[in-house]
Symmetry: C2
Subunit: 278 residues, 2 copies
């Protein structure tokens, strides 16, 4: 049976979590116009598991008459070969680059199962990561301002400017200890920096957002409220941006950015160390 | 000047967040024994930015006499070419695969700046993601058991078994709504499932952990406490695992697993849809 060629089955197969395969595959697929039907097989580290994957790929091909795409990352040769014998277009997301690095620097790789995200040998940095998530949770939305000495960065912004998701992403992916503090509507007339922040001025970073976008986001939460009104959003954004400028606090506009983009831009502006956990 | 060849400068250069470059680069480097000195250049989307990166790469080479490694992902040809003219070993993390997909499926790619993580056109799924993070935060550590209907999964486990970081990772990276509920020491004698969970039985999933590892993690937090003692940890783990078995709740052991691995294994066991946000 022929199926609409605008759709195509895509498989991610890895002997680890498959997250690297998915990450890379998504970026590759974003450049093509077909609609992918995706399926992920993590922890394929035996010929038994590989045989199951082989059957699934084969079934996809028999069902659609179209070869699926397979993005894979598998260290064990016998497992890899079994997956690659299935009727599909295969893409080794790492293999070619590892080979090229080996040739370029004349150093033999030491292939190991994809355990880059495992705790194992790097237990200390793993504890650091968990501690960063806990610190950030405890300092979300101004819950407490104790322990600011330990903060890597303090995010300021109006409600719904993206502080919480950005803070958690920075903690989870980069192991940073993030405080976030809301600049509240009622304070606007007398808006100023809290005295607690004075000695941590160098850690302050502002998030702002286009008033129209802010209104849209708040409407999504509290439709028809004053809180979501164009006027209120405009007032809050104007006031907060004036504060950022007056106090020389660096800031960025989050309007159409994802948490990954916001985080990347903050790290770039502040020079905070990027140490991605993966 | 020659520098210890056990170290080598590594650059990640992208016209987007560079997170894909870093992710792939880390996995590649994990297979080699040298120590990388890493630096990331995100948002390199103009020849001006490319010229800055060129200078940094050149300076690295002149300083060390060793060609650095450059993992890059850049769509604009003139930007890419400028980066690639620097004295380095270059690895295009996407280019070869995009070309190969094009050849295999006979479809021209539509190169675009690396905006796969941008909000833009896919605003709805972005709201879903933020909503998942907020739901998960609101349901962390048993804060509330309201709204369980909306939960994708309910994680159960003793204190320090990894529930909170796993929940937040599942929400942030896969857009899942996660409840986590602690099985508390004082409840152990009379441990049973809360009535609130009865109609959501199919969503329950247990996390457990080796008692020695649990004790180590708790010692790290409250050294010398009863809470961290080997005896207490053993008791809690035994009791909770007996509950999981008695109630036929699927569970995994988190002891030496990262949040990525725990998440991947849970998704595999439950069949929850994997839709990685990136």
């Amino acid at each position: 049976m022929k199926i609409n060629s605008q759709r195509r089955d895509v498989f991610y197969v890895s002997d680890g979590t498959a997250i690297t395969c998915e990450t890379l595959g998504h970026v590759v697929l974003s450049q093509f116009s077909f609609i992918p039907d995706e399926k992920t097989f993590p922890f394929v580290d035996s010929t038994e598991r590989a045989a199951e994957v082989f059957k699934e790929i084969e079934a996809s091909y028999q069902h659609s008459g179209i070869k699926p795409l397979v993005f894979f990352s598998i260290v064990l040769p016998e497992v890899r070969e079994m997956v690659c014998r299935a009727p599909a277009h295969n893409y080794d997301v790492l293999g070619n680059i590892v080979q090229k690095v080996q040739d370029d620097i004349q150093m033999a790789p030491q292939p190991q199962l994809q355990r880059s995200r495992s705790v194992g040998k790097d237990s200390e940095s793993y504890f650091d990561r968990i501690a960063a998530v806990e610190y950030t949770l405890a300092h979300d939305d101004g819950i407490t301002l104790k322990g600011l000495d330990e903060a890597d960065i303090i995010l300021l912004g109006v409600s719904r400017s993206g502080k919480t998701p950005t803070s958690l992403y920075m903690a989870m992916q980069f192991g940073l200890r993030v405080v976030n503090y809301p600049l509240i509507a009622e304070d606007l007339a007398a808006i100023r920096l809290l005295p607690e922040f004075e000695i941590h001025r160098h850690k302050l970073f502002g998030l702002t957002i286009a008033p129209e976008r802010l209104s849209e986001i708040r409407e999504n939460r509290l439709s028809g409220s004053d809180y979501a009104s164009a006027k209120q959003c405009q007032l809050e954004v104007d006031t907060v941006e004036a504060l950022f400028r007056r106090e020389a606090i660096p800031y960025i506009t989050t309007s159409s950015l994802s948490v990954e983009e916001i985080t990347s831009r903050i790290l770039e502006r502040t020079g905070l160390k990027r140490s991605l956990f993966c």
